[in-house]
């Protein structure tokens, strides 16, 4: 993303940035959507910047609230979903495979 966008600690969010995010997230965005998202996301990011006021040095990140440990057990074979059941959900099933549009030109 455009590194020159950092000005005086305020994130300036441009149409190009939103377009780039759309590409990363695989969402097509119309020009109209890009304009409105640039405004919305810019406002939200400005609000989020309040976190910069906090000193977090030496603080451990929390990815999960529970003190979970690895659970070890003997491997057991249990029933699971059949291929047939899973393929029933598929948009375009083909002989037990997921059919997709052409990948390589």
């Amino acid at each position: 993303m455009n590194q020159t966008n950092q000005q005086k600690g305020k994130t300036v969010f441009s149409d190009q940035d939103v377009n780039y995010l759309g590409r990363l997230a695989r969402i097509y965005l119309s020009q109209e959507e890009i304009v409105s998202l640039t405004k919305n996301l810019g406002g939200i990011l400005q609000y989020i910047e309040k976190l910069e006021k906090l000193n977090v040095s030496g603080i451990q990140p929390t990815s999960h609230v529970l003190p979970l440990q690895n659970v070890y057990r003997e491997d057991q074979v249990l029933p699971s979903l059949s291929q047939e059941d899973v393929m029933k959900m598929a948009v375009s099933p083909h002989h037990g495979f997921f059919k997709v549009p052409q990948v390589i030109e």
Binding site: A25, L41, Y47, L51, V56, H64, V65, L66
Partner: protein, 480 residues
């Protein structure tokens, strides 16, 4: 009184005494849906045919229940109220659905919600908004707005919702009912279509505290299919209800009583505190100093997790697939981009893009990692407070229900309506919303009680004692 206006525990009593039957209860609820749902629009799908009760053995709960449309029911369409999942029929039941069916619960229908639970008003649904039974010009709250409105309109006896940042408690508050977000890990998330996996939790929405404890009894417990569900014994939550409150210490965090808190809400909360003092509770003003950072932290972490969880909706394995009329890039990229453009609504796109941003190269440390560290600070605030307190009491929401359309063009204003509920999800602690009064306009006000992890019994004990000394929970929504 009509059967559909009763609570589950009242109905179970009547069924046991042979004064009514599960079939009569079902018919009564069905009639209420036919009468009120064209106006309230709590349901997106009603299914009476598959909902007939089978037996009435002891210990079973043949009670009609509404299920939020993000919980998988085998063979029925489940869409998260999103176009992208139109037609999706899960091949399995969520663990909570298995447990409801084992208890002979009656799945009467699936309740409206903000698309993928992204919202606080149930306006972001592909099926259109649900209306608040207390004033149909107002939102029911969200994202479990359909579940809350169904219960408040007596179109369900009780309901299940999910809560990632307040999505059970805020609609419960707006609709004048009881809603609990259990401790993270108390209820299995297997079969709950994920929004933010480290924050999501399924919980009960009910007409009173007793029903809430009963429904938690049914759905709580360890599940080997959810590695984050915790193997802690499940007590009978109804046993703790009638214990007195003498000697309990409850904290009032000063950061929750600031600018933006509606004076009518503040008045109701203050009155509730005075009432609880009469039951022998000691109150103490406390500080949760990182409260003001909760919303910002949440909107980084929740959107980052959402952008990752929603990557699976790509037009291949489930739901809908779209191809643009004219090619833009390669055929497969065109399919992905068009499917996700047409499949996701405005707010879903906004959150996916925000999450993509905070996880993207060069921004990860400044946003995502920093937010995870602030999450630690927020959790530490609660750990410290609970080292000398039994519970914390706050308003559930700074205001009563707002008008439909009032905040739909201002995402930040919408996000800030969750300011009092988000911290419980970040800290993983349980919290309930119970009715504690009404505004001059007749809209319900909610009181939030929070406690340490797995202290749901403490929450129910305080909530029940308060509820029984008031009659707010007995009022019926006018449905106009």
């Amino acid at each position: 009184m009509n059967l559909n206006e009763s609570t589950a525990h009242e109905l179970l009593g009547l069924i046991k005494e042979k004064k009514t039957t599960p079939e009569a209860v079902h018919i009564s609820v069905k009639k209420a849906i036919e009468l009120h749902d064209p106006k309230v629009k709590a349901y997106v799908r009603v299914d009476h045919d598959k909902a007939r009760p089978t037996s009435r053995a002891n210990g079973k709960f043949p009670i009609p229940i509404a299920i939020k449309d993000n919980i998988c029911i085998k063979g029925r369409e489940v869409t998260c109220c999103s176009r992208i999942l139109e037609g999706f029929k899960p091949p399995y039941n969520a663990t909570v659905i298995e447990k409801i069916l084992e208890a002979e619960g009656i799945l009467i229908g699936q309740a409206n919600m903000d698309e993928f639970a992204f919202g606080s008003s149930t306006e972001n649904s592909v099926f259109g908004p649900t209306r608040n039974p207390w004033n149909t010009k107002c939102v029911p709250g969200g994202s479990s707005g359909g579940s809350a409105a169904a219960v408040a309109a007596h179109e369900a006896i009780w309901a299940l919702g999910s809560d990632t940042g307040g999505s059970i408690r805020q609609p419960a508050s707006f609709c004048g009912i009881v809603g609990l977000k259990p401790t993270y890990g108390r209820v299995s998330r297997y079969g709950l279509i994920a929004f933010a996996s480290s924050l999501d939790q399924i919980g009960p929405l009910t007409k009173d505290v007793t029903d809430n404890a009963l429904l938690l009894n049914i759905i709580a417990g360890h599940d080997h299919r959810d590695s984050t569900s915790v193997n802690v014994p499940v007590p009978d939550y109804t046993k703790s209800l009638t214990k007195d409150l003498k000697g309990l210490k409850i904290g009032i965090p000063k950061e929750y009583f600031i600018e933006g808190l509606d004076p009518e809400v503040k008045f109701a909360i203050t009155a509730a505190i005075e009432l609880l003092k009469k039951s022998g509770v000691t109150f103490k003003e406390i500080s949760l100093p990182h409260t003001e950072y909760a919303v910002a932290t949440y909107y980084i972490l929740a959107t980052a997790e959402a952008s990752s969880n929603l990557a699976r909706f790509d037009g291949v394995q489930f739901g809908q697939r779209f191809q643009p009329a004219a090619p833009r890039k390669t055929p497969i990229v065109d399919m992905y981009e068009e499917t996700r453009d047409r499949g996701f609504g405005k707010e879903a796109k906004r959150r996916i893009l925000l999450g993509t941003y905070s996880l993207s190269s060069g921004y990860y440390e400044a946003y995502y990692l920093r937010a995870q560290k602030v999450r630690t600070l927020i959790k530490n605030d609660f750990d410290l407070a609970f080292s000398e307190l039994d519970a914390i009491l706050t308003p559930t929401s700074p205001t009563t229900a707002f008008k439909i359309g009032e905040k739909s063009d201002n995402p930040l204003a919408m996000y800030l309506s969750d300011i009092y509920t988000i911290s419980a999800n970040l800290a993983g602690i349980p919290a309930i919303s119970i009715p504690c009064g009404f505004s001059k306009d007749g809209l319900p006000i909610g009181l939030q009680i929070l406690a340490k992890p797995f202290a749901e019994e403490m929450i129910f004990r305080i909530a029940y004692s308060y509820e029984q000394s008031t009659d707010w929970y007995k009022r019926k929504a006018p449905l106009n």
